[in-house]
């Protein structure tokens, strides 16, 4: 099988991380092409259920990128994200899925370089962890 090319899903919030991704683009910061971004209004709108669905059906990694604490356009949205996703990660671990396949991070609208760094890091982490075992395991 050719070299493992992970398929990764990312949720970016309209006000900060999506704008940070745009700035990375405007600044032509090169990064691996494995991450597919879905735009949401706030990281707090991302249901952990989406991550469970994606990971249990073979997606190799899920990334949720919100605003830094204190920057949220909706005041306390990212506080809830920060509270929910560690629980989701632990549940993955309990069931035996490598919890590093689900990562939560903060990127501001001016951090093109941080976006590049998070994407590059996450893709290399997932390459190290390897393909999602659930891809072959048809339940």
């Amino acid at each position: 099988m050719s070299e493992f090319k992970p398929t990764i899903l990312a949720f970016c919030c309209n006000w900060c991380s999506y704008a940070g991704a745009d700035l990375a683009g405007v600044s032509r910061l090169q990064m691996p092409p494995n991450v597919h971004v879905i735009r949401v209004m706030c990281s707090a709108a991302v249901k952990p259920e989406y991550a469970f669905k994606a990971l249990s059906e073979g997606i190799d990694g899920v990334l949720v990128l919100g605003c830094h604490i204190g920057d949220c356009h909706y005041l306390t949205g990212n506080h809830r994200t920060k509270k929910r996703f560690p629980v989701a990660q632990r549940i993955l671990k309990d069931v035996g899925i490598d919890e590093r396949r689900l990562r939560l991070d903060w990127v501001s609208a001016a951090e093109g370089e941080k976006f590049q760094q998070v994407i590059t890091e996450f893709v290399s982490d997932i390459k190290k962890i390897g393909p999602n075992p659930l891809r072959e395991v048809k339940m």
Binding site: C16, L23, V26, A110
Partner: protein
Amino acid sequence: MTDRVVVVGGGIAGIQAALDLGDMGFEVHLVEKSPSIGGHMAQLDKTFPTNDCSLCILSPKMIMCADHERIKLHTYSEIDGISGKFPNFKVRIREKARYVDITRCTGCGDCAAKCPVKVPSEYEESLTNRKAIYLPFPQAVPRKVTIDGAHCRMITQKKCGVCKKVCQAGAIDYDQKDKIVDIDASAVVIATGYDQMNVSLLPQFGFGIAKDVVTSLQFERILSASGPTGGHLVRPSDGTEPKTLAFIQCVGSRDAKTHVYCSSVCCMYATKESILAGEHAPNIKTTIFYMDMRAVGKNFQEFVQRAKKSYGVRYVQSRPAKLQPAKDGKGVLINYEKKGTGGEVAQDEFDMAVLCPALEPSKSASKFAESTGLKLDSDGFFMTPDLQHPVDSTSKGIVVCGFASTPMDIPDAVTQASSAAARVAEMISGGGC
């Protein structure tokens, strides 16, 4: 009496006044002399006291301004003159030739990549160069390129023409001429903001003599992730990370020889820049030489305490007399009077020094002052004598907001912009006094 208003100056105050007036139903013409709106705030990395990223909070307003159906942007344009009296002003706007058809240009930047001419970039405070055809900064609004006629080889010597060849949108037009647009407006809002004083007029501070003495706006660009150093805090002389950093307050301010007034914002942005320096270079030792630490706004004192406690910034109450290059042109030697020693002068060496220059009202405004009866005070600010109407100028129907009337920080400038909108609304619709 039309409901048309001209706003002069596309900085944060001009943008806010235009947005409020547009939302109130007035037709607004926003005139900005540089190729993009945004003003000095667009150059800032972060803003005090929250360390919000400046462009993150500014660019949504810039986009709203450009997208507003009742606001017409005139960028790269100047006011040739204002005639008439309230409520019938005739404002002559000169849209300087950009040599680019902005209906076709998509801001893709291919031309700039190929243009051979390098010019010191105003946006980057001359720390790096831009091309003769350029987009001032990635988030510029409008996102269109401009040909700087004074440096473009095609305009000056009819040689080159590379950008026209490369431009796939066919937007380059070398024969474009200045365009005069006459607007009859019921009111004019002046929001021309400030410019940093030319600190080379004060050689004792070493600007232009010591390579590692920079202005605060240059330091903002050095700190900015989209700046010339990519956000890495390095000093101009040898590109190394400074271990010791000094801020010099009141350079040209509170000084009878140059400007008596206090520029109001330097204490706070110096504190902010010292905190940011601490974040970029965690073990940096920063000293701020100040006279009075004027932290008077919301959460400002806590901001200064945070600089002292979490970032170890040293505040020295003294006014340095001389800055000169240390050994072989690198670093800075600062002579300053040590407090409590009865006038003894100390000399410390710093890897880098940041000057906080006096902020002067932008010169462009004073051009049309006389024709409109607008009086300026002894420092060049527009006089706003009536306490009950703090944004009214000396000429009825013309209001002034932001730094153009007196030194103030961004929240006060934004507040005054809305006050200007209220006064205009009062004068035009309410038959105000």
